[in-house]
């Protein structure tokens, strides 16, 4: 407080500003991958999935196991994604489909219950000690005076690619049309012969698979334990609200926004304190623009 902005900026070397920009975008892209599964499920199914973090965590564990068995990171990534997508489909059919048409509160309670079950299952099965996923390559490149790991850049690009693939899937192709029609008018979609219950299961499975993929991609950075889902998913929830619940483009924009903001904030304060800025943005959004920052003003 009280320090002129010019003086503040002068204190920070230009290179560091650029490094934090790269960092912010990379973190933002990874966050976008976690958040897009969440926002997809909310936007299409009206389900706030409190078990998203546990699907993320279980994905990482399946990754750990597959990596140990095969030694190949990319195989682990694919196996984890598919396994958790199947688990997501099973969860949807057994737990969420019977609640279709009920009060949304029931689905919140159901997913919250699932999250507790999965988290404690992981604790029982894998124990409290964190596991490590070895990144597929360990090279660095020089960003000014800093050794920047290639792997972080690759995750950001992969996240972008996965989100891009999701977008293409929704935009083109019959199933994408079915999903979008179901989002807009579930009853009319059924009247057009679209098998809405199966469409919803597929959407939940895709969201779950995306959570698992982010869990594996993230494993090398954070370590895998039963509670690893909490942090990221909390942030993903912020992103989903700030981006406009259910709005895929908005969530991506919000992810990058939050990523950059925390990154810049950590030039002045510690990264742990930088999180406070995200909550401030969340509260301001809820107060002044509850439909989300990154959505066009409704007519």
């Amino acid at each position: 407080m009280g320090i002129p902005l010019e003086q503040l900026l002068q204190a920070i070397p230009f290179e560091q500003l650029l490094i934090q920009t790269v960092n912010g975008i990379v973190t933002g892209m990874i966050l976008a991958l976690v958040a897009s599964g969440l926002t997809l499920i909310f936007g299409i199914m009206d389900v706030v999935n409190f078990a998203h973090g546990e699907l993320f965590m279980l994905g990482a564990y399946v990754g750990v196991i597959t990596l140990a068995a095969t030694g190949n990171f990319w195989v682990a990534l694919v196996v984890a994604t598919l396994t958790i997508a199947l688990l997501g489909a099973a969860i949807h059919v057994t737990t969420l489909r019977p609640l279709l048409g009920r009060d949304p509160l029931t689905t919140i309670l159901a997913t919250f219950g699932i999250s507790l079950v999965l988290q404690n299952y992981a604790l029982w099965q894998f124990g409290p000690v964190a596991r490590k996923i070895q990144e597929p390559f360990t090279g660095h490149f020089t960003l000014f005076y800093l050794d920047y790991p290639w792997y972080r850049l690759v995750i950001a690009l992969l996240s972008a690619a996965i989100i891009g693939a999701l977008w293409l899937f929704l935009k083109f192709g019959t199933y994408g049309i079915w999903i979008r029609a179901t989002t807009q008018d579930r009853v009319m979609a059924q009247a057009m012969g679209i098998p809405v219950p199966s469409v919803l299961t597929v959407v939940f499975a895709i969201g779950a698979g995306m959570a698992a993929a982010s869990g594996v991609l993230f494993g090398p950075l954070v370590g895998v334990n039963h509670a690893m889902g909490l942090d990221w998913v909390l942030k993903a929830f912020i992103v989903v609200v700030v981006g406009g619940m259910g709005n895929l483009g908005g969530s991506i924009a919000a992810s990058i926004f939050i990523g950059l903001m925390e990154s810049y904030a950590s030039l002045w304060v510690s990264p742990a304190q930088a999180v406070i800025f995200s909550f401030v943005v969340l509260i301001l959004t809820l107060l002044f623009r509850p439909t989300g920052l990154f959505v066009p003003t409704p007519k």
């Binding site: 019959t174 979008r180 059924q190 009247a191």
Partner: protein, 245 residues
């Protein structure tokens, strides 16, 4: 459960159905039938349960009692999407266009189903674009940007994509300009000549009497009157009794 005999059973038979919205009892035992290729009008004042009857046939509202039969088989417990695939097309009164989907995508919701060859898809699309040239012009435009009349055409065209044996048409001319009304009137005739059955709910009595072969008149959740359309006149006492204002 009886096995239907395709040649003698009516296409759709509604048998004494009762429906509720929460605690309010909306249909009190509605019965009617529609034969193959037949255009049947369903008239009645506001709020008597015409739309609810169509929704009950489509499985959108579940009857608490009574049965709906399609080609002689009970369909009351089938999910709505199965009914659509069986050959029941639905054009709701508020049109319910997928507003963010393009015109083409709206049509594809019904067109992209198993068992339809690419050649057949092309044929079906050409047919509706032929009837509704304005839809061809606007094929890449979002459904929500169309005018009311254009949305009505799209709603009908979209139902046609299912190649339905019957179309449930709920107030297709409501709020349309006279020119649009006569276009809708023509398309009803075209569908009729192609062999589709139509259950037509309308407020426009002269149009319904002209377009239909038979008429049902509802009052307060039941069918009160049933007549051959050509025997009814707009000036008849029954029309005045049940529809006059």
């Amino acid at each position: 459960m009886t096995l239907g005999n395709a040649s003698t059973d009516p296409l759709v038979k509604v048998e004494d159905i009762h429906t509720y919205y929460g605690k309010s009892h909306t249909l009190h035992g509605v019965s009617l039938e529609v034969g193959r290729g037949e255009v049947v009008g369903l008239l009645g004042r506001n709020g008597v349960g015409k739309s609810t009857t169509l929704k009950a046939i489509m499985g959108i509202v579940r009857p608490s009692q009574g049965e709906v039969l399609f080609e002689g088989r009970p369909i009351t417990h089938l999910p709505t999407h199965r009914l659509a695939r069986l050959g029941i097309g639905y054009v709701p009164e508020d049109r319910r266009i997928f507003r963010l989907l393009t015109v083409m995508e709206n049509l594809r919701t019904g067109l992209d189903r198993r068992g339809v060859t690419d050649a057949r898809k092309k044929q079906l699309l050409e047919k509706v674009y032929d009837y509704f040239p304005v839809l061809a012009e606007r094929r890449n435009q979002a459904g929500g940007t169309l005018s009311g009349g254009e949305q009505q055409m799209l709603a009908i065209a979209r139902a046609m994509m299912l190649e339905p044996k019957i179309i449930l048409l709920d107030e297709p001319t409501e709020g349309l300009m006279p020119r649009m009304v006569s276009q809708i009137r023509q398309i009803i005739d075209v569908l009729h000549h192609e062999g589709a059955a139509i259950l037509l709910v309308e407020q426009n009595v002269p149009l319904t009497l002209e377009a239909s072969q038979r008429i049902y008149i509802m009052e307060k959740g039941v069918v009160r009157h049933h007549a051959v359309a050509s025997k009814l006149r707009v000036s008849d006492a029954v029309i005045h009794q049940y529809l006059g204002v």
